[in-house]
Symmetry: C2
Subunit: 369 residues, 2 copies
Amino acid sequence: MSKPVSMYAPIPMVAGPVTLHPDVIEAIARDYGSGQIEPDFLPLYKETAGKLAGLMGTDDDVVLMTGEGMLALWGALKSCLKRGDAVLTVGTGVFGDGMADMAESMGCKVTKVSLPYDSTIGNGDSLAQIEAAIKRCRPVMITAVHCETPSGTLNPLAELGAMKQRLGVPLLCVDAVASLGGASIDAKAWNIDLVMAGSQKCLSAPPTMSIVSVSPTAWDIMANVNYQGYDAILPFKTIYKDGRCPYTPSWHGVAALHAAADALLREGLEAAFARHAIVAKQCREGLARIGVPVFPRPDAVSAPTVTAAMVPEKYTWPAWRQALRERGLIVSGSFGPMAGKVFRLGHMGTQADPILMQKALAAVEDALR
Amino acid sequence: MSKPVSMYAPIPMVAGPVTLHPDVIEAIARDYGSGQIEPDFLPLYKETAGKLAGLMGTDDDVVLMTGEGMLALWGALKSCLKRGDAVLTVGTGVFGDGMADMAESMGCKVTKVSLPYDSTIGNGDSLAQIEAAIKRCRPVMITAVHCETPSGTLNPLAELGAMKQRLGVPLLCVDAVASLGGASIDAKAWNIDLVMAGSQKCLSAPPTMSIVSVSPTAWDIMANVNYQGYDAILPFKTIYKDGRCPYTPSWHGVAALHAAADALLREGLEAAFARHAIVAKQCREGLARIGVPVFPRPDAVSAPTVTAAMVPEKYTWPAWRQALRERGLIVSGSFGPMAGKVFRLGHMGTQADPILMQKALAAVEDALR
């Protein structure tokens, strides 16, 4: 099958859903049997989950649920937390702080360490702030975001994970929606109990699947909480116990993830991560050359999967977006306090491609002329 | 594109996910842009929702969410009900009674009218029982199931809807997962506030999309409850208000539903319903001829989309399933009290096909020889 080209843009550089991998299109372009009946489905599910565990750097169980990435986030919180539980959210951007809103809506006692959106964990005295907050609120769970897409940053998590372990916090829950497959994740070494991800970012699949790794501690806590709902993760334990699926599984969704993970493993994880890092560097250096400043402060860690840059001063965001679109380049805007000021180039998955980035930079340069 | 044939069975007659419609495969076998960015997506969403509203017999807003059909069920309950709310569940099968378990897990005060699983609403004194229960518990919501798949029955809902209206119950919430597109639904005439459906039954699409119609009363109640979660329906109101999508929408999922609804509308709804009814009759009469009794009692309404029949006495269920599979016929088992005793032929969507049914009946006959 030939390389899929978006009908919508010659230069698709959105922060997801990204252009599909050709193998993913091939996997979804067909009929399957019933995932509840055919004996081929469960082995595919388990094999896919295992490949994704490899991408996460864990040997914990991995659960695949039908729904957009937010399903993984809600599922992890609701499955592990009861009303009144203390939660510490670490935010360096819209999604990190958004976890606080989610936990608050569930009636949890939330302590929020909200760091500047252009920084990453480790900048300034952020680790000391987090440590003090943990000692103060004694949380059941710490939440953090690996790649903060709207800010274009990647949070280092090793020290946070070590702190979690040292201070005896039961759970560390990490949103890796925009990093899984594009950046190294070492869930085991970083003591992450729940890695949450989605299909439509670095995996280059449609936005139909949620992925969550579950540590033994997380399974125990889930069994105790016994939350029920579409986003409940505990029912998926039966897949590992007795091969029974809760609900009707999406064979297409699992097949898409299988093809996506396979493509990454065939390339080699180190090679894939290097490709993302190289294209990200190309993007940052190219923008600097053109005179477009990036959003994160210089000592923050830039994301290898997405670059957040400043909308040029002589443009409004809608006019800038339109100027780029007229040159075939589709980019994303940003959210929260950065909305209207920051635009984003998503170079993840199939879009982490040096030729595509070259075209994107040429379009940016031309629009600025 | 040629008619898709399941690799898994020459005669796929499962109760869903059914064999995909060729137009659906064509719709999902491609790359799309970002549903949050490209101007083509929202018109497609709204047009698809409108077509599905037509299938439901309503002009209420219809919401399309990414997830398996159970997402529609959980979403409707959690979006409309608060802890302590009185709910009346009407069950003539596993799914109808299952709604009681779901509402109970949410802390609602549940009154359960559980009718025999081989009957349908209207049999015996069922309507009097329901009326008495409504007067006793004064529910915020009545739940019912249109097609009770595990029982192979279709509940008449006109009288229940009239009763709901007459007694001033705010909400009637109907699971139409296994009937939408295969049987006439007149949500407006039947006073249904929430019709809940999924993509993988009569619509012949993969199990990735949930569909819910929302009456003005239901929107008001949702705004008051203000439930938050992946399955929250209220955030989808913004699509109709200001064109903003909550979360990342699935363009593939919506395109699949669009193709599915289009195929049904092209055939003509009356013709499609007639096709289902004819194949269902062919199934019941064929089984009677062979000597396989159907499960519902004679005065119950049989489903036009699925037939539940008794596993022949000389077979265990696994042996019967295997005997049919050896003849190329894949059927479904049943759940709850019917598990092991009842098997099901799903003749919905693409599988409501007289030739396929002829092959299925020949396989059953051969297995019994």
